[in-house]
Symmetry: C2
Subunit: 222 residues, 2 copies
DNA sequence: AGAAGATTGCACTCGTGAGTGCAGTCGGGC
DNA sequence: GCCCGACTGCACTCACGAGTGCAATCTTCT
């Protein structure tokens, strides 16, 4: 969606119409903001991409600022939901902790590396100085809550004997760090699409190291 | 320097003068860009902060774009030098690998969390879409070279028996990830000044986990 | 059909900031 | 003392984009 240059992904066919223009506007806004940045993005273009008149944009969201905030919030919310869904799926099956962690890690990495996620992070970094509250809207929900959810799961895993006793929050923090840290360089801020195999390799390496530190008994790397 | 609001850190006393105005301009430019972002920063203000006439800015650097690029390059270069200096100091002393790693990790974290570094990263993220070559100027030198230098040191450490045999590049990657990853949330994109004790704790935790995975013999956490 | 509200296209105001031109000033070298 | 080049202050042009007003049109509800 982000990379799309086609003018109206949502509402061109029903050009003059009814549907949820608002959603189309927010989506288009995020797309354009992602490409141009806040200041360079002009409302006119957002309206065009949304397949809507500029006036309509101002009808739904009064300001460019408001538009930006809501677009970011919407994007963050959907990204958060995706990540949480992945984390929630981390359940203690038979006893194959390694495979489970690798799978979850890999899926988290895929989310982390897609275009929308990178755009969200770039915009957050970019406009954070001018929109300090953005951090609460985006980061507060995005990173912290994923970390907390992961900590919950790791705690369960620990109690079930899959991991050694540890501070689950710290463990989650390090697991996520081992996953996402290496991507900063590998995907060039999202400019380079990282092949699946590489994602898998990074996830495997992260789990290797993670399990060396946190596995329950006589654990050992691959 | 970044947080300073005083108009001329370098060249106000010798207002009409000779010295290296250019350096003052680049520094002022980075300061202003860091606070306002590229688009919102106006050349007039940069000139004022540098203690220089707007015209002089255009004399030294033709464009706002050029100004931005050079300011970023200068800031990145100095940041890189600082980080490399820290990594270079990682030498195999007696045999206290853990203490050495913790010290280096802690100093890297301090660099990573200071205002200039965060500003540099924020600007890179922010304007990367409009200045794709920025990544070569900044990131190419910044992250990769620090990683490479660290990999060199870890390889030496490994040969000397301080670490188990491993891919030093991957080890360096994970060590840096364990260090910087947790800071993303803890310092709120650089808005929250992280206390020394916390930096030290993160460094210790990173080294703990790192050594669990990469220590030579019968290594074990703290 | 008719009314109400949303939507549209267009033209407009207004502020802002990049970049330039010019005339005057300063400082150092000859 | 004088010249040259860098620097300065000021006023100016110009492009761009946010936000508004208005009249016409469409959609939907009754």
């Amino acid at each position: 969606m982000i990379g799309s240059t086609t003018p109206a992904a949502t509402g061109r066919s029903a050009s003059r119409g009814r549907i949820d223009k608002r959603r189309a506007i927010l989506e288009a806004a995020f797309t354009v903001f992602a490409v141009r940045g806040y200041a360079q993005a002009c409302v006119q273009e957002i309206a065009e991409v949304a397949g809507v008149a500029k006036h309509t944009v101002y009808n739904h969201l009064n300001d460019k600022e408001n538009l930006f905030r809501h677009a970011m919030a919407a994007a963050a919310e959907s990204a958060l939901a995706e990540n949480l869904a992945v984390v929630e799926s981390l359940v203690v099956r038979g006893g194959d902790v390694r495979a489970t962690l690798e799978d979850v890690g890999h899926r988290l990495l895929r989310r982390h590396c897609d275009e929308r996620s990178w755009a969200l992070r770039r915009l957050l970094y970019a406009e954070f100085a001018r929109f300090p509250d953005l951090l609460d809207v985006v980061q507060g929900g995005e990173v912290n809550r994923v970390n907390d959810a992961l900590a919950d799961r790791l705690a369960r895993l620990s109690l079930a004997g899959g991991l050694r006793a540890c501070d689950p929050v710290e463990a989650a923090e390090q697991f996520l760090a081992l996953l996402t840290g290496p991507m900063e360089t590998r995907s060039r801020l999202g400019a380079r699409p990282v092949p699946e195999a590489e994602l898998r390799a990074v996830a495997r390496a992260a789990v290797d190291t993670f399990l060396c530190a946190f596995a329950a008994g006589p654990a050992r790397g691959a």
